[in-house]
């Protein structure tokens, strides 16, 4: 799975996710990536989110929208809201991670697996790339 969240010069957020799904899947199984609110969500009032991981748990937890709702209703930061929703996934037995970028340019990349391919770029073009914990 791959994903991207972005904030443009006009303060508009967007999120996208694309995936080939799971190896050996059957029955037309669909994961969270194409489910708006589960694997992908963006709202200029709060945050843009793209998820990766064990899709069934992300669908059941409506992870991407939950992260946004925690920020909107509870006033949590993107980092705290991100950790909160990944913990919910883990508590249910799922694993994976997400990327989130809020309306003010703060980002979070929480995950509960051994690693996640991830990267970010700042306003001035500084690139950060990480794979492992």
């Amino acid at each position: 799975t791959v994903g991207c969240v972005a904030l443009d010069h006009n303060g508009n957020l967007a999120a996208g996710t694309s995936t080939g799904g799971m190896t050996n899947k059957k029955y037309g199984r669909v994961g969270d990536a194409p489910i708006i609110g589960a694997g992908t969500y963006a709202n200029n009032k709060t945050v843009a989110v793209s998820c990766t991981g064990w899709g069934e748990f992300y669908i059941r937890s409506v992870v991407a929208h939950d992260l946004s709702a925690l920020m909107e209703y509870k006033g949590l930061s993107v980092q705290v809201a991100g950790k909160t929703v990944i913990k919910k996934v883990g508590d249910l037995g799922g694993d994976g991670g997400l990327i989130a970028l809020d309306k003010d340019g703060n980002m979070a990349m929480p995950f509960n697996t051994e690693g996640m391919y991830r990267g970010a770029v700042t306003k001035d073009g500084k690139i950060e790339i990480l794979i492992y914990k």
Binding site: V2, G20, M22, T23, G39, D95, G105, A120, I129, I131
Partner: protein, 186 residues
């Protein structure tokens, strides 16, 4: 006030350093860097966040290292089935596609669903028909095949014929109350 304008991921899982060669790690990092540079260039040129997201994900879809577009994993039946979604934070518009087999860049079709239809989600043959109608690039299904992903399916079939696996995991133990997903790859 934060300082970030674009963030990406290329999948999560049990990515163990001991299983990664320096050459392969360098290829992953180069792929991620290329995507970040593309997205940043779009934003720097005054493009919208939607433009940046689509352009960035297209780079990752075209890179066979990642499980999206070319290099997607195989289903039990030996097919590639691709899903994608995009959402605009300004309008709360959204578009997504699922189970498509001939769309070179599913993220572009997801955006077309959002911008050129009255719907949010399209699946399978219908989504592909819509792609043809709005001019989204269609390829033969063989375009997505890589030998590494094919062997991944063969290994999965040898181990267990019914379990599905996520992308990048190895030997994740089953947790209580869950379905059994050893060796997840997602």
């Amino acid at each position: 006030m934060g300082n970030y304008v674009l963030v990406i991921h290329g999948g999560a899982g049990t990515i163990l350093k001991k299983n990664m060669t320096p050459e392969k790690e360098a290829r992953y990092k180069a792929g991620l860097e290329e995507a970040l540079k593309k997205g940043y260039a779009v934003l720097e040129a005054g493009g919208t966040s939607l433009d940046a997201v689509e352009a960035t994900i297209r780079i990752l879809e075209d890179n066979p290292l990642f499980n999206a577009g070319k290099g997607a994993v195989f289903t039990h039946d030996g097919r590639n089935e691709l899903d994608a979604a995009i959402m605009d934070g300004k309008t709360l518009g959204a578009g997504s596609v699922a189970g498509v087999r001939t769309i070179k860049n599913p993220i572009t079709l997801a955006r077309a669903v959002m911008e050129k239809s009255e719907h949010v989600m399209m699946v399978g043959n219908g989504a592909e028909q819509f792609a043809a109608e709005v001019g989204v690039e269609i390829v033969d299904t063989s375009y997505f095949r890589t030998e590494e992903r094919w062997q991944g399916l063969q290994n999965a079939l040898k181990e267990d014929s019914i379990k599905a696996k996520l992308d990048h995991s190895f030997l994740t133990p089953q947790k209580a109350g869950t379905i059994n997903h050893d060796n997840k790859f997602g």
